[in-house]
Amino acid sequence: MNVDRDVPTIAEAARQIKAGMLSPVALVESCLARIEAHEPTIQAFHTIFTDEARAAANQAEKEIESGNYRGPLHGIPIGLKDVFYLKGYKTTSNSRIMQDFEAEEDAAVVTRLRDAGAIFMGQLNTYEFTFGGRPTFDALYPPARNPWDITRSTGGSSSGSGAAVAAGFCLGALGSDAGGSIRTPSAFCGVAGMKATFGRVSAFGDLPLSFSFDCVGPMTWTSEDSALMLQALAGHDERDPGSVETPVPDYVTPLNGGVRGLKVGMIRHFYTSDFEAPPEIVKSIDGVGNTLRDLGATVEEINVSPLIDWHAVGRVILPAEAFTIHEENLQNRWEDFGPLARNRMMLGSLVRAVDYIQAQRRRTELLEEIEIALSEYDVIITTAMLTPQPPLDDKAPFPFLDVPMIAVPFNLTLHPVQTVRAGFFNDGMPIGAQIVGRNWDEATVLKVAHSFEKEAGLLKRFPDLS
């Protein structure tokens, strides 16, 4: 799987576009050529904006040539998870329930990317109503396939986003995350992904899964690219009740500041004793700590409550909120849901008020543990996956009940998390790690992630699509 390819990162393309050495038209055409060649196999998109992308690329080129350069996302091909309002198009969340829904305005993040000059390549596949666990085969569109091995899952629910970035169909993509839906496909597809602090990026126009947890964020090849996208996405939006009015710092300039002197806490028991992850995962995640230590950080092992405690809280709260959101349609249009998604949501109907409130109280206690840890450590590191990428056709209805979900802890605590590629399994499939930071300190998280990526040199391996 060590195949070279001619797909720049956002940072590389931006430098070349700004210098007049790369045309947005040529860049979009190269993405479209890759899509034409490989999308029938990968199935990352359900709708490709071929004509629109070409027109936008021409427009971007004219603007840039006339001196109206908007910034590093100008002329950059981006994919949109099919959960974001997009005026003029259906937003379906891969469900027959929504197949005729057309929003009257763009989602906030779509507007921000549009204003930054990004070029939208299409709408990317997701699990039905973004309820994760396993891909849904019984929804409106077929599931995306992992470009590293098309028989394996991409992870979800930002499944198409992970696949599209890994395959080079676009240079970045939007995802959403309530229980790992950016971080799991990022890890499974070997790309970078950021779940920012809850309230950092507006969720206006993002079809919700969970009021308590939903976050929107970028998925990109590198953490530098995540920083470039986050710079455009972040900021207060009064249309989102969860959005917080707090200054947005510079995420890009500090990237090369290094990690010397930083304190890193490793939560190893999540993947060594609470759940016994395969040796390749243990080695890769430990390797992130070792690399940061070599770069001058202090790295220590830390302990928090067992993973099952975090998992329990997430598994009570999220289905309850998902069921609440979809209650009316579940009662009246049960047959229009795919069976996998509808039964996952039905779990929420089985959560009593007292269960929900006790889970939220436990959440308060767990959040305090991470706050205490981050008062001493600048970042926390743990794994982004506990098992290898499962087969694509694994149709277990409730896999997330019995195996803890490693991404969930930081949905509970609201902290920013960046997923980075940390290594590979012996069969060549990628392994991802999570880097967690203090609330509102995405800058340090991204700096640590970027430092690791540069030193580890793991991003020069690409999936072989041939």
């Binding site: 329990a312 289905p319 039964n343 039905m346 779990l347 109907s349 959560v351 009593r352 939220q360 409730f398």
Partner: protein, 71 residues
């Protein structure tokens, strides 16, 4: 109740009642799968309880009114 004991809520009558109360027309086969999932879910819900938890531990978020304009 110890962690090895079946949670009180993991009960057929409770399950059937919750399904009925949901108003959702679940098939018999789906109900069978959901009953097993319900056991797992109640096991997880039991884990979120903590004997002797302080009354001060509130759920997130804790709502309070916005400050008056200009303050």
């Amino acid at each position: 109740m110890t962690s090895d004991e079946k949670p009180l809520a993991d009960d057929d009558v409770m399950f059937e009642g919750l399904i009925r109360a949901s108003g959702v027309p679940v098939s018999d086969q789906e109900k069978q799968d959901l009953r097993k999932a319900y056991s797992s879910l109640m096991g997880l819900a039991a884990r979120t309880r903590k004997p002797g938890r302080s009354w001060d531990v509130r759920m997130l978020p804790v709502f309070s009114p916005k400050p008056p304009k200009g303050s």
